[in-house]
Symmetry: none
DNA sequence: CCAAAAACGTAACAATCGATACAGCGCGCG
DNA sequence: CGCGCGCTGTATCGATTGTTACGTTTTTGG
């Protein structure tokens, strides 16, 4: 479906009989609403008879009127989803977004503004290494984001682990990790001491650490190979982790693209596993 | 033309019966295309019967379905012809944000555009009830968001539980829940059957269900008191849960404000507990 | 806890829709 | 000038639509 119906029509309009051309013109004139009404309405509005409308539609390559309308609606749906001008059209009580929402959006933009494509690439490269194992963990409020990443990464590559449960268990896991492996940590203030100790121990063992933190930088930054500082300040009693979350999603997306060829086979196997 | 239909709906949605509210939600979720199809399509998509759709339309003040559709089309026509030509929506009008980031930001804005302050208020009121217990759960990828909410809510109010572990345990937890309690569910496609069954059982027990889903609406919407439809589509192999996450944060913020007086004491006690 | 009211779905109806067959009209080539 | 082909409108049929009545279920109020 490369071309829209509008282009299709203007292309072929010259090669049409008079009646069908009138149909085409009225459709273009108020596109695409004329095509969403009934055949009778359409025909009357164009000043032709109903069969002419149907012949016109058939000439465009559709098997019946319903198929034509369906295509038109899909096209329209795609258009309506991108811009958000809809809700603020009339009598803008929507003059300003809620302060918290605006701040969150700014945070996200700001966060991405400070992450260079090169850094992104390097982090993805670390996570994409086929022989590396990836261990994710977060703090009290950020651990869910670590889980979110783990849930996706488990699907596209092997050896992905989320460090959950007792803190003493974390340390024990370190024994399985080496220089090529990655410890992916989320830590925002108030920074958790337990995470710092884990990171320090991991660092001593030569494990690669990727840290996602806030703009004041967790002390773990000292041991990290890569540090991503997200903005978290919002007009609320809490800090916002939204920017970190979106960054995690971006990372997942990039990683998926990079691993596309290798993970395709894996995903297929997973599908059959689930159904079996 | 004073008010648009969308506003009309969000205004009156609270005063509607369950079935008609579901119709309203599906119409808002993908506005206004759902209303331009046939009654049968609309009803099936909303999971209700055709007469319910007609009653819904009648409640909005229209004499028949045709009149409703006509109004919807006029509204759409005015919107399509006004501002930007629709052909140049594709090319980069911004300062070169990555496509995925731009899509995510749009999704967030769009999602909040569809949530009325009133609905927000009602959800917060449910979560703020001092005698209610709150149980949160999510699907494969969204459960981390449920955890994130739970982590915050636990601090500002009692009786907050995240349903984790074996699926069979979820059901057993239902035994502690009654009419005043809340089951807060995240569910995006591919919708999980286990969550649906949980929600159905909970609904039969009269438990209030708040559902955060995607724009295609999880089948759980059928049992939910409140449905929030977030946008999840991004140019990636995955869907994006960022909008749901930000919504969760907004909910946490609002809830905190509402409970400020009651939770202050609680937070103080927690502080001393941690240090003690 | 029970009675009254509201809401919902099933089933049937009539109106309307999309689709097809057929006949009249206009146009161009021989 | 007349013959034939393509385009168009009228008439018609079956399918689908919107709509209504009715019985069951759910919710509300006392």
């Amino acid at each position: 479906m490369g071309t829209s119906i509008a282009e299709l029509i203007t292309d072929r309009m010259d090669a049409m009989p008079a009646g069908e051309r009138r149909a085409a013109q009225t459709l273009i004139a108020n596109y695409p609403l004329a095509g969403l009404k009934t055949v009778a309405d359409f025909s009357q509005h164009a000043g032709v008879s109903s069969p002419t409308i149907l012949r016109f539609v058939a000439r465009l390559g559709f098997h019946n009127y319903a198929e034509f309308q369906a295509t038109l609606q899909h096209e329209l749906a795609a258009q309506l989803q991108s811009p958000l001008s809809r809700t603020e059209r009339q009598s803008g009580h929507r003059g300003e977004e809620p302060a918290m929402l605006a701040a969150t959006l700014d945070n996200i933009r700001e966060t991405f503004g400070h992450v260079s494509p090169r850094q992104m690439d390097e982090i993805v490269a670390l996570l994409a290494h086929p022989r590396a194992s990836i261990h994710l963990i977060g703090g009290r409020f950020t651990d869910p984001i670590a889980r979110y990443m783990a849930a996706h990464m488990t699907i596209i590559r092997p050896a992905v682990f989320h460090l959950s449960g007792q803190e003493s268990n974390w340390r024990d896991r370190l024994i399985d990790m080496g220089r090529r492996d990655v410890l992916f940590v989320f830590d925002i203030r108030r920074y958790q001491d337990s995470l710092l100790q884990l990171a320090e121990t991991a660092h001593k063992r030569g494990i690669q650490i990727v840290l996602v933190t806030d703009q004041w930088l967790s002390p773990i930054a000292r041991f990290a190979r890569h540090v991503v500082a997200g903005r978290t300040a919002v007009p609320s009693a809490w800090d916002s982790s939204a920017a970190l979350f979106v960054f995690a999603e971006a990372l997942i997306g990039e990683l998926t693209r990079r691993l596309e060829s290798e993970s395709a086979k894996r995903i297929g196997e997973l599908e059959t596993l689930r159904k079996g």
